[in-house]
Symmetry: C2
Subunit: 140 residues, 2 copies
DNA sequence: TATTGTTATACTCTATAACTATA
DNA sequence: TATAGTTATAGAGTATAACAATA
């Protein structure tokens, strides 16, 4: 087994375990993971059509119809007609949606920040360097 | 925002993204995530009863009954009577189940190892140090 | 009577197929 | 005729409630 493979194995186990812990810190359990992810995508990309959202979340259009309906009923997104194409609609995050996302992120970051405080300065420095490398690893 | 909170936010995003990529490298799509996780738990802990498995996977007993039935039908686990308590049964990973888990891990590690090869030596050194720190972060 | 596991049934989420409205 | 979105319907997966067997 090459050195890279050993490192890959260790990283994989650790990253998956950490991700599971982070996921369980979800603040609002009334939203499904897909609904939460859709809300986050809208927040990052700005208004999108249901079709674009479905492609982004790797979900079929009818499923996205239901996700958007649920988010709209909860007042977390708004729906407006497309300016030039009457077939399309644009979905955008409402102020309430932004608030929910902010609460959710704060809660998860707080959990992680608390655990970071238990580390010594050398470990923290290592993590600061590693964050950029991990980003390369995950990207594209 | 304290320095720790900024780092927490960056790490959270990166770790979740990497985890999503790793999860999608799942080799056998015929098994659900719960089924795969249950198989992994049995492999790590040794034989367990359905009740213990349900508690471990945070699933209700009837759901675990179905998971175990599916795994048994696929030949991935075996079911034996408990030696002293006639109510209980013990579920264990079969050789075929161990093979599937090995294939699955190899595939995911291979994907990650391939991406690791694209990094320069300094980045690799950083990751090697960070792996241990991330482990502390995820642990317990 | 308490506990372990299973069966019966219902709900949520997502999928495919068919339909409506607009380009 | 093609495209965007929705409605109709079906299939996983998991939950609660009721049941059977054993301690």
């Amino acid at each position: 087994m090459s050195v890279d493979t050993a490192l890959a194995s260790e990283l994989r186990t650790t990253v998956m375990r950490l991700a599971r812990r982070l996921r369980n810190q979800r603040s609002d359990t009334s939203l499904s993971l897909t609904q939460l992810a859709t809300l986050g995508t809208l927040d990052r990309h700005g208004p999108l059509t249901p079709g674009e959202l479905a492609a982004h979340e790797r979900v079929q259009p009818p499923s996205m119809t239901r996700v958007v309906s649920a988010l709209e009923a909860a007042g977390l997104v708004t729906r407006t007609d497309h300016p030039t194409d009457g077939r399309q609609v644009l979905i955008a995050v409402s102020p309430a949606g932004k608030g929910l996302l902010r609460d959710d992120r704060m809660r998860r970051d707080a959990w992680l920040a608390q655990r970071l405080r238990a580390l010594d300065p050398a470990d923290l420095a290592t993590l600061r360097q590693a964050a950029a490398v991990l980003d390369k690893l995950a990207g594209s």
